[in-house]
């Protein structure tokens, strides 16, 4: 604000001259608010400018007096100490000097502060600064509205009456919705202005009653986790969500909002053990429809193929669900169908996924799918697609030899079971042989064949002729000898041993070590020694 100037004062004239002269020596047009503030300061403190620029001694006596009077003016307490007469003189002098009584304060270097990027706000352009202050006022405004929301909600909680209308305060869904939007705007503004971060949950009025429990490292922990000060955005969200999870778990709250919280955390970290277990508790407590939960789980499973927790969760769901629907045959059939369909989807992505096969066995046991034709057909299809899929072979063995309708309960995989029907044994021997023909150097069906013979209590010699078809002219010279499968040689060694034909057995083992499976030479040598015992 330019000083009032009624003429008379030398100082004021000088100031005027200075202002008039400015067009000639190109005035620096203020670019940023720091310059504007300084300009205002100089403009309203002309005497001070001389002192600061040239020194006190350059003032004429009248200005010196004005300068001192102005300094005195800045501490009114000292003026009160003056006698009435001196006070009158003081004001007269000031009036005569025509000095601006309302003057800007001298800017301090640190008065503007820095924004979240470390930039000095003093370096803002007027436009930037205006936008900045506008946002600041918006924050205050939103903050205040938010306070009102909380106050009204508190009133609603205690069923307080509005003294004017006589009605009980109420909070509507719309109020909550507006509050949520308000907080989102607040968070965005605070983040923009100050870099402050608020979690999704702190933003949500529905979570206001929960006090998050942050992760605490025990003092002097041996292996404290060195969290970086500047978390990546995703980490911040996760850490905040976890703090809310801890809080609701302590309270043992089992509500829809907690279910959503677990979903959010599982999305970010599906390997988190505890959150799955908590989720199951919620599902149970809320008596949720299990098929819905399974459907949700299907999507998560397809995204995280190698995760242990999803499969345990699935088992828990089934264990919980099955007893209540067991008696409804159609429901069980529908469940089996949808589960098998899902397993087919997931096996398409990874045909040897251990978790999936393990769960498949659990499912067969649980729902009693032993004699389900589809199940056997699916396995045959998988084996025909990839005859080397050992997981599928293993499952077939399980389906046939653990089937309670045609086996002894608890019979080990490695022992004879008299309860298995002879036609089943014959069928499986043929099946194994048929698949061996497709890929003779594939160990899975060879192992399978041996397993079937043991289960059926049959001598290995049962398949002697079959195995011999893979070998031609053994030991009759490199050019004549042909071995289509080292596994056949391996089995033949045992078959000959069983039949007491030691020399033939020894030849098989020797040729394995010498030529057909040299990497395991020591093993074959050991087997040769065992022939002698």
């Amino acid at each position: 604000m330019p000083p009032k100037n009624k003429g008379g004062s030398t100082k004021a004239k000088e100031a005027e001259v200075k202002q008039q002269s400015s067009p000639q020596q190109p005035p620096k047009e203020p670019q940023v608010i720091r310059e504007i503030e300084w300009q205002q300061y100089w403009a309203t403190n002309p005497v001070h400018q001389i002192v600061e620029e040239k020194g006190f001694n350059h003032l004429n006596p009248a200005d010196r007096r004005t300068y001192l009077n102005l300094e005195l003016l800045r501490s009114t307490a000292h003026i009160d100490d003056l006698s009435k007469k001196s006070q009158r003189e003081f004001w007269k002098q000031l009036s005569d000097a025509n000095a601006p009584l309302r003057s800007a304060l001298r800017p301090r270097d640190d008065q503007w502060g820095r924004d979240r990027n470390g930039r000095d706000i003093g370096d803002y352009t007027p436009e930037e600064y205006a936008a900045y202050t506008r946002k600041k006022s918006r924050i205050s405004e939103l903050d205040l509205e938010s306070t009102f929301f909380r106050r009204d909600r508190e009133r609603a909680h205690w069923k307080t009456k509005n003294p004017l209308t006589g009605e009980i305060y109420a909070i509507t869904e719309d109020d909550i919705k507006s509050e949520r939007e308000r907080r989102q705007e607040l968070t965005a503004l605070r983040s923009e202005l100050y870099g402050a971060k608020m979690s999704t949950y702190a933003n949500d009025p529905e979570w206001d009653d929960v006090v998050p429990i942050p992760q605490e490292e025990p003092e002097g922990a041996l292996a404290a986790i060195a969290y970086a000060d500047d978390y990546a955005e995703a980490d911040t969200v996760y850490v905040a969500a976890m703090a809310y999870l801890r809080a609701v778990m302590v309270l043992k709250e089992h509500s829809p909002r907690c279910l959503q919280l677990t979903e959010h955390i599982i999305e970010m970290n599906p390997a988190h053990y505890t959150v799955w277990l908590y989720r199951f508790e919620i599902v149970r407590a809320l008596n949720m429809p299990i098929p819905d939960e399974i459907e949700w789980l299907n999507d998560v499973s397809l995204e995280h193929l190698k995760n242990y927790q999803i499969w345990h969760h699935r088992q828990q769901l089934l264990d919980h669900y099955y007893p209540n629907m067991q008696s409804d045959e159609n429901a069980v059939a529908a469940l089996a169908a949808s589960e098998l369909e899902f397993l087919a989807d997931i096996l398409e992505k990874d045909t040897k996924n251990y978790h999936v096969w393990s769960y498949r066995q659990y499912l067969v046991r649980k729902l009693g799918l032993w004699d389900l034709e589809d199940e056997m057909r699916t396995i045959e299809l998988l084996i025909s697609q990839d005859v080397r899929n050992n997981s599928a072979w293993s499952h077939r063995f399980f389906l046939v030899f653990d089937n309670p309708h045609q086996s002894t309960p608890g019979s080990h995989s490695t022992e004879y079971d008299s309860k298995v029907p002879a036609d089943v044994i014959d069928r499986e021997i043929s099946y194994g042989q048929e698949k061996i023909e497709l890929a003779p150097q594939n160990q899975s069906p060879w192992n399978y064949l041996r397993g079937v013979l043991v289960k059926g209590g049959k001598p290995l010699g049962t398949v002697r002729e079959f195995a011999e078809t893979f070998i031609t002219a053994l030991g009759e010279g490199e050019d004549k000898e042909e071995v289509r499968s080292s596994h056949a040689l391996d089995l033949l060694a045992d078959i000959y041993k069983e039949a007491g034909e030691k020399d033939k057995a020894d030849l098989c083992l020797r040729r394995l070590g010498e030529k057909w499976d040299r990497i395991r030479e020591a093993y074959w040598e050991y087997r040769r020694r065992m022939l002698e015992e």
Binding site: S394, N442, Y448, V454, Y523
Partner: protein, 240 residues
């Protein structure tokens, strides 16, 4: 369970069982926690109070409890019976009875039976034959038939073979060569297979594998506990 087992192993490694008594909750309490996770009917162990069961947990419990000399708190016979039921027609062991044979699971089952002094239940030659089949022409070992090789199986397969005294059934030089090819020769560490990113997991199992193969300059490793032999000797002496 898994964290508790790791904690006991680390305490064993740094000879700090006494501190567990003076500064911690005491080994009895730790052992009681693990013992509480056994299903007394089936003999299995759960991973925690919510009950996911797996031979990994059973092995972990026997591992830590034997180090603490607290095996008497659990029903070892029932546990043994469960492990025996996990044996498969092909000679291997799976996660649960009937599950496909898997090298990692074989390690847990064989080690559990070794701790329980019940190796007599293993069909040694059949199992070792299956394990020896895990070596591929490039020297590396896989975890299941027709799967790819991976350095971590150097440990699961080799330690199992070592426990039943059959490490010589695989080609030592070829496996050493494979593990060494998995090294990052510039920055150190070992990866799952040549040219991949190294990590602590595969570095550990590469090194312990080399140790079992008698590679020069490495301390002897105990195949049951995956801890230095000297550590196990010290702990077991304290028990005896």
């Amino acid at each position: 369970m898994l964290y508790t087992v790791s904690a006991v192993q680390i305490l064993a490694l740094v000879d700090a069982f006494d501190d567990l008594e003076t500064r911690g909750t005491g080994k009895l309490k730790v052992a009681q926690f693990m013992a509480g996770l056994q299903d007394r009917e089936k003999g299995t162990f759960a991973g925690d109070e919510w009950g996911e069961e797996d031979t990994r947990f059973l092995y972990g419990a026997l591992n830590a409890l034997s180090l603490l000399d607290m095996l008497h708190l659990v029903d070892v016979d029932k546990a043994v019976k469960h492990v025996a039921a996990c044996a498969n027609f092909d000679g291997g062991y799976g996660v649960n009875p009937g599950d496909e044979s898997h090298s990692g699971q074989i390690f847990t089952c064989v080690a559990a039976l070794t701790i329980a002094k019940r190796q007599d239940l293993i069909d040694v030659d059949r199992l070792a034959g299956w394990l020896a089949e895990r070596q591929l022409p490039n020297g590396g070992l896989n975890g299941r038939p027709e799967k790819d090789e991976d350095v971590c199986y150097s440990w699961w397969v080799l330690s199992s073979l070592s426990m039943i005294g059959r490490t010589h059934w695989i080609d030592r030089e070829k496996l050493i060569g494979f593990i060494l090819r998995c090294q990052d020769v510039e920055n150190g560490g070992i990866s799952d297979r040549p040219g991949n990113m190294v990590d602590v997991w595969h570095t550990l199992f590469g090194l312990t594998g080399l140790s079992l193969l008698g590679y020069p300059g490495l301390d002897d490793i105990d195949p049951v506990y995956c801890l230095p032999k000297s550590t196990i000797e010290r702990v077991m002496q304290g028990i005896a």
